[in-house]
């Protein structure tokens, strides 16, 4: 086990070093590059923690989508940065804050070291109750059967987030095309990537959703990949982002949550409780919910990245 320990120690040290870099470096752009590298390493750490589902989510969301979001913001905010740095708190205050944060860390470390010895666990409960759902992946089972209410609330909470992003648009731009995506000048390499990668990515996305029932994977991972491919096509300029007032787009955004709520509500008289599945139909219903939710979540994530509507003119350009 020594080699495994070396891998783990190297990962932990690297992640801490990158976190230090993200906090301490001067330019936000560098910090964001460090954060993307940090996300990559976190995905490997999740694998080491035997949480492959989480690793997939981290790889897709943490490096891919968050990277694009933050890199775009850092590039646009770079001119404002010089004034920022001089507004840090004074040295004494920083030392005080540092000490207090170190105290927080020490407290948490003590908690980690003093965790109760027979670890409390719901794993056996999940293992016992997994067969009735017909789903083989325990994480999917938890997400869609045992703790379905959490997942429902989450897929619903993405929509207010999207409305929040849209709301910062100027009044006349409301309902127009989103304008936050970078639009590099057309280049043949980017066009090629945007033509070759999406078919493959869509395949991987569908595979993750379908496979998610029995093996690691699921709708969030699949939806993230789909959203990333969509955004890649938009960045390359092969397609124009849809206007946000489009009825079909709005329907696509809400249909996942509606189907989830509908099936959940029908569970009240078919199975005796909200979000309960009738005997024997759990797996097909879970798959149906996953399929529709994937589309809605992919559209929502993509539009969150695409940013608020900007009228006809991308925000970043100076006219």
């Amino acid at each position: 086990m020594t080699n495994a320990l070396i891998v783990d120690a190297a990962l932990a040290l690297l992640v801490l070093g990158l976190a230090l870099w993200v906090i301490a470096t001067r330019a936000a752009y560098r910090a964001v590059v460090g954060f993307v590298a940090y996300g990559l390493l976190m995905a490997i750490i999740w694998v080491r923690l035997a949480a492959v589902d989480v690793a997939m989510t981290e790889a897709a969301l943490g490096t891919g989508l968050t990277g694009l979001l933050l890199l775009g913001a850092a590039a646009r905010l770079a001119p404002y940065e010089t004034a920022e740095f001089d507004r840090r708190p004074g040295r004494g205050l920083r030392v005080l804050i540092g000490l207090l944060c170190a105290a927080v860390t020490l407290g948490l470390a003590a908690v980690v070291l003093l965790l109760p010895a027979p670890a409390p666990s719901l794993a056996s409960l999940v293992a016992d109750n997994l067969p009735p759902t017909g789903v083989g992946n325990p994480v999917t089972g938890v997400l869609l059967a045992h703790r379905a209410i959490d997942t429902l609330l989450e897929s619903v909470v993405l929509l207010p987030a999207l409305i929040g992003v849209w709301s910062v648009a100027a009044n006349p731009a409301w309902g127009g095309r989103p304008g936050s995506l970078p639009r590099p000048p057309a280049s043949s390499a980017l066009t090629l990537l945007a033509q070759v990668l999406p078919p493959f990515g869509i395949l991987v996305g569908i595979h993750l959703v379908w496979n998610g029932a029995d093996d690691p994977g699921g709708k969030f991972q699949g939806a993230t990949v789909l959203a990333a491919m969509w955004i890649l096509v938009l960045i390359a300029g092969l397609r124009e982002a849809p206007a946000l007032r489009e009825r079909r787009l709005r329907v696509l955004l809400v249909v996942g949550a509606l189907v989830f709520i509908g099936i959940g509500a029908s569970g009240i008289w078919l199975a005796g409780a909200f979000l309960a599945y009738p005997e024997g139909y759990a797996k097909p219903l879970i798959l149906a919910i996953e399929a529709v939710l994937t589309l809605s979540i992919a559209a929502t994530l993509g539009l969150l990245l695409a940013g608020p509507p900007a009228g006809d003119r991308p925000i970043g350009t100076t006219s």
Binding site: D8, A12, V15, L16, A19, V22, I23, R26, A31, F35, I45, L49, A50, A51, T57, L61, L65, T66, L69, L70, R76, L77, E81, T82, E84, F85, D86, R88, R94, I97, G98, C101, A102, V104, T105, L108, A109, V111, V112, L113, L115, A119, A123, V126, A127, P138, V139, V142, R147, E154, V157, L158, A161, V165, S180, F220, L304, L305, P308, I315
Partner: protein, 126 residues
């Protein structure tokens, strides 16, 4: 069970580092980054707890180990953290666009004085 403890300590350090950055970095984008670090540290602590609670499923013949309930919650948390980050970035870009500021203070920043005298790296980290 040495490895999960290692990552647990790592998560604790991440929370502290992120908290420091959240408080000390004046730029809002840096605060967003620091906030993500805190969240990541918390998820990591949660992941360690999930791993400690595992073992049952592996004994039942499944290769994947770990308590699936915290893992499912971490996935939920990651997605929600992304949504929150995107709102924060949208607000920040709008703030910069309309007021020319990227910090969260009330008045406009004065002319920067004597840049370069500060240390390039804030000290006092844990």
């Amino acid at each position: 069970m040495n490895d999960p403890t290692l990552f647990g300590l790592c998560g604790a350090a991440l929370v502290g580092l992120g908290l420091y950055g959240l408080l000390c970095q004046p730029g809002a984008l840096r605060k967003i980054l620091a906030f993500n670090l805190i969240g990541s540290g918390v998820f990591l602590l949660f992941g360690v707890i999930a791993l400690r609670g595992g073992g049952v499923l592996a004994a039942a013949g499944r290769g994947i180990d770990g308590d699936p309930v915290p893992q499912a919650l971490i996935i939920t948390g990651l997605v929600v953290a992304f949504a929150a980050t995107s709102i924060a970035v949208a607000l920040l870009l709008r703030l910069a666009e309309t007021s020319g500021r990227t910090t969260l203070e009330n008045e406009a920043p004065p002319a920067p004085s004597l840049p370069g005298e500060r240390a390039s790296r804030p000290d006092g980290e844990s």
